[in-house]
């Protein structure tokens, strides 16, 4: 499994666009909002955290087309199946590599977006912690959606339709963690709970979907 993660990471980082595109997309979405709602700093400061959560969610959807589809098309998945590697392991490896190629770098990009959106300094820490807890859940959901739509034309739009409703709890608790007072700790705990749940569930759903895709 470590070999699978390593292979996938080498492939992702081998192509410049594979890693940078979601981050650029994240920054672009974040910088669209000041144009759309006006550049007034107080308004931006109020909605900055929510914007960044939505932008992160959309950026996590970007690489979905490339998670399983190339491996199905060139027969790598068949090879793994022939070597009797369980699909749950394949899905877990892909989920981990998807997150590693996207989560940590996104956290590094957040301060840039925060500056663009005039995010208050006090909200910075809850946002970073929340995203650190929440992005694995986004990676898990993306893995399931990618496995369900392998072999489809126009899979990206459909994957969005599948992921967004299921990602709502993550978004709600993530946004809740940016309030103030005792609600923050509670929201972070609930965010952690939903993240753990999704990460634990998704290898089985994605594995079953991959098995169905090869039959």
């Amino acid at each position: 499994m470590i070999a699978l993660v390593g292979r996938e990471l080498a492939l992702r980082f081998g192509r410049w666009g594979g890693v940078m595109l979601p981050l650029l997309f994240f920054l672009l979405v974040a910088s669209l909002f000041p144009f759309a709602v006006g550049p007034e700093p107080r308004l931006l400061a109020r909605i900055a955290g929510g914007i960044m959560w939505v932008a992160a969610l959309l950026a996590a959807l970007m690489p979905i087309d490339t998670l399983f589809e190339p491996d199905r098309a060139d027969g790598t998945l068949d090879q793994l199946a022939a070597r009797q590697v369980p699909f749950e392991i394949v899905a877990t490896a892909r989920m981990i590599s998807h997150w590693l190629a996207f989560g940590p770098l996104l956290l590094l990009t957040v301060p840039v977006a925060a500056a663009l959106l005039a995010l208050p300094a006090a909200a910075m820490l809850p946002l970073i912690v929340g995203l650190a807890i929440g992005t694995p859940a986004l990676a898990a959901l993306g893995t399931v959606a990618a496995a369900l739509t392998t072999g489809l034309r126009g899979a990206g739009a459909l994957a969005g339709l599948l992921v967004l409703p299921l990602a709502l709890p993550v978004l709600i608790f993530g946004a809740g963690a940016m309030g103030d007072g005792p609600a923050v700790a509670g929201a972070l705990k609930l965010l952690g709970a939903s993240s753990l749940f999704l990460v634990a569930l998704s290898p089985f759903a994605a594995g079953a979907a991959l098995r169905a895709s090869l039959e």
Partner: protein, 240 residues
């Protein structure tokens, strides 16, 4: 259950069951809505607008019940590979989605005079909206593949993942402090006056039977479509 997985046996039963459920459902619905809309008393707080409950509550129940049916049929399809289970899940999804949409719309119409707004981002309303999106995702995924079998399997997995939403809807009014009122009908009894409860239960039974009749009709249509497609393929093969 396996006895009914045979499409021929299913069709034989469904041919009889469809008109019975449809007619009985319409009769019960007419009785329930007739009583509810004309003879039941207005609410002392909500006035006449309470009558929308006789549509809102049953559609909410069977919007959720329909999803449970889709999920159970999907599980049967994944475990035992009964093609009929796939047909059943696909047939029920649009019906359930319609019920959910009607529930949301009647709720919005009721909310305007009562809460002063069509929509609030409340846990119960939001989780019900998520249910509608799950239905739509299921329908889109099931029809996205050229290979029917594959689409069915993928959609079935999605249906099972989406089941986590059902307890969230059910308990949303207790876990969160919501604008939507908590359940009035429980195992231990009901806090609704019998004059309102009776039409509600009649209407609910009617909606349930109509749900069943619609699903049966859609299943029979789907099976007939498969027979026609198979026959066309055979003819094309014979002449080609």
């Amino acid at each position: 259950m396996h006895r009914f997985a045979n499409p021929a046996r299913f069709l034989k039963i469904a041919r009889v069951a469809t008109p019975i459920t449809a007619l009985l459902g319409l009769a019960l619905l007419a009785a329930g809505l007739g009583l509810g809309l004309f003879s039941s008393p207005p609410d002392y707080l909500q006035g006449e607008s309470v009558r929308i409950m006789y549509v809102h509550v049953p559609t909410a129940w069977f919007g959720m019940g329909g999803y449970l049916f889709v999920a159970l049929a999907s599980a049967a399809f994944l475990v035992w590979r009964h093609p009929l289970a796939d047909v059943a899940a696909r047939a029920a999804a649009p019906v359930g989605a319609t019920f959910t949409a009607v529930c949301l719309m009647t709720g919005a119409l009721w909310g305007r005079p009562t809460w002063g707004t069509y929509w609030v981002w409340d846990a119960r309303l939001t989780s019900m909206l998520v249910l509608l999106f799950l239905y739509l995702g299921y329908i889109a995924l099931a029809n996205a593949y050229d290979d029917r079998e594959r689409g069915g399997r993928a959609a079935a997995i999605l249906a099972l993942v989406g089941v986590v939403n059902l307890p969230i809807i059910k308990f949303s009014v207790e876990w969160w402090n919501t604008l939507h009122q908590p359940a009035s009908i429980r195992m231990s009894g009901s806090s609704i006056h019998p004059e309102m409860l009776q039409p509600l239960l009649l209407a609910a039974l009617g909606f349930q039977l109509i749900f069943a009749a619609t699903v049966l009709m859609r299943m029979r249509t789907a099976l007939a479509g498969q027979v026609i497609a198979a026959r066309a393929a055979r003819l094309a093969g014979a002449h080609g």
